[in-house]
């Protein structure tokens, strides 16, 4: 869970008046997430919505969990994906479970669609930010109801919008440019999955928190399916991956070679003294020594 600690008591009895200013002044808040999930990417396609995310749960930069489900169905018509604090996401799922339960209890044939769930989530996220106690997530909500496709996002401070394709976190930088190039209204299921996998592969290569174990979910008028976890084919043989900084201006290619300090000493019957030699790349001296 996100932590909110105050050094002094929140309800300072003598400072009951003006409590907002008082608590700002003499208390400190620290707010940060513990276990986080990285990007979620989602698109509209011909028959509905496709959504993809990996299953990593990072504890800072440590890969702490490897099987976190970050895409979940909500009711019959919606699909929710989340990045950010995992525990907050699971709390949101509990809110939604209750919402859907009470909705079903009316038993009157009405049900909340993706638009209603998205609007509800927007209120929840925004109300929490108003209390300075945010749910540390970016949420993606997709769904289909009555032939209407819906895809929207909510951020942890309540910013919300709809679009044909959306992505959270790094996905905003790396996936959306691809989607803007290649997305179109009539993507088939196969092409949609291919496009999402392309995005997820780029994220895997360039986002250090991304892992190669992901799920893709589909929602159509017929219902929701979330895939089993699987991994993408990758190719790490690019020269840029082999030795990323070689030749880069100002970089040091550290070479360690064991060399004889003085070849002439061979004549002295002493064991050869080996010293490490560290040189910058492309120096003439290095070239000479290595070629020798």
């Amino acid at each position: 869970m996100t932590r909110k600690t105050s050094l002094t008591m929140e309800s300072n009895q003598s400072n009951q008046h003006n409590s907002l200013l008082a608590s700002e002044a003499d208390s400190q808040r620290t707010l940060y997430p513990y276990v986080t999930g990285t990007s979620v990417v989602a698109i509209k396609y011909k028959d509905g919505i496709l959504m993809a995310s990996d299953m990593g749960g990072s504890y800072g930069s440590t890969l702490r969990y490897k099987s976190v489900e970050r895409i979940k169905p909500v009711g019959k018509h919606s699909l929710l994906g989340a990045s950010g604090e995992i525990s907050d996401f699971q709390e949101i799922l509990r809110y939604l479970d209750e919402l859907i339960l009470y909705d079903n209890m009316w038993d009157d044939g009405n049900s909340l669609g993706p638009k209603e769930v998205h609007s509800y989530l927007t209120r929840v996220m925004y109300n929490r930010r108003n209390k300075f106690n945010p749910l540390w997530n970016s949420l993606i909500l997709g769904g289909v109801k009555n032939g209407h496709k819906y895809l929207g996002m909510v951020s942890m401070i309540g910013v919300n919008f709809e679009d044909d394709h959306v992505a959270t976190g790094f996905g905003n930088h790396l996936a959306r440019p691809i989607l803007r190039d290649e997305w179109h209204e009539n993507l088939s299921f196969e092409d949609g999955v291919k496009l999402l996998e392309k995005c997820m592969r780029v994220l895997l290569y360039r986002d250090r928190s991304a892992i190669n174990k992901l799920q893709i979910a589909k929602i159509t008028e017929e219902g929701v399916t979330v895939s089993q976890p699987y991994s993408l084919k990758t190719f790490w043989g690019f020269s840029a991956f082999q030795n990323p900084t070689v030749g880069a201006e100002g970089s040091w290619w550290v070479v360690v070679r064991w060399v004889r300090p003085n070849p002439d000493q061979k004549k002295l019957r002493r064991p050869p003294l080996l010293l490490p030699l560290i040189l910058p790349p492309r120096s003439p001296q290095l070239a000479a020594n290595l070629d020798a």
Partner: protein, 257 residues
């Protein structure tokens, strides 16, 4: 002074197993002037009879807009009806604030029923003396019911105009010979692509005239002398009421909202 000793609160049973407060409230509904509702596949029409309380006053408003897709007609204690309308309006606003979609009518009705039921279980409360919606309620509504029961099977495929016509005829049935005029009735419509609104008085009179509802009548009973005065008052209000869906009226707002 009291009718009996068992009607002082709503949770006391009489020895004969009756709850007088509940009966009183039902009686209040029966004595209210009639309100009628009917629907087709695409439209709902609510109509009611307006009765002025005295020769010097205008009638009370009996049809309320709750939201673009919900309206309500009442019979009984108007004050209670307005309290309940206000509750329904706020429920509708709260729902669209949270979900950005209209509140389902059925749910509002159940919520309202639950609210009304609570009043029959708290000794310090009394039941609301008002009936809402239903298909025909209020005084002499049996005549309207009979008419509607004879005709309801055709309503599903009725056009908007036919539905209004049936509403007016049903309303006329409750008048017992009094002439049907736009000044003594209110008609409202909601339907597909048509937000709930109360028809203005001229429109209602035109409809009455085109349907020739009056000519079918026997010669009308002589009207009370005060009728025109009350009618004018009512007319002004109907005009303002109808503006909800249409262009705004810059005139003074009526007092009886």
């Amino acid at each position: 002074m009291f009718r009996n000793q068992y009607d002082t609160d709503v949770t006391t049973w009489s020895p004969t197993g009756r709850l007088f407060q509940v009966e009183y409230s039902m009686e209040a509904v029966k004595q209210g002037s009639a309100a009628i509702g009917l629907r087709s596949k695409t439209h709902v029409v609510l109509a009611c009879v307006n009765k002025a309380n005295s020769e010097l006053s205008s009638h009370q408003k009996k049809i309320f807009k709750v939201d673009d897709h919900i309206g309500v007609a009442i019979a009984g204690l108007t004050a209670d009806g307005r309290v309940l309308s206000r509750y329904m309006r706020s429920e509708a606003i709260n729902h669209s604030f949270t979900y950005e979609s209209p509140l389902p009518v059925g749910r509002l009705v159940v919520q309202l029923a639950d609210k009304a039921q609570v009043c029959t279980q708290r000794s310090w409360k009394r039941p609301y003396g008002v009936g809402l919606l239903a298909f025909a309620i209020g005084s002499r509504s049996q005549a309207a019911k009979t008419y509607l029961e004879r005709r309801f099977e055709n309503f599903t495929n009725s056009s908007r105009e036919d539905l209004i016509k049936d509403a007016l005829i049903a309303t006329r049935e409750t008048l017992q010979g009094e002439k049907l005029k736009s000044s003594i009735c209110t008609v409202s419509v909601v339907g597909v692509g048509e937000p709930f609104h109360i028809l203005d008085q001229e429109t209602v009179q035109q409809l009455i005239d085109t349907f020739e509802l009056v000519t079918e009548e026997e010669p009308p009973a002589p009207e009370p002398a005060s009728e025109p005065a009350a009618a004018d008052q009512g007319g002004a209000e109907q005009g303002a009421g109808a503006e909800q869906g249409a262009a705004p009226d810059e005139g003074v707002a009526p007092m009886d909202i």
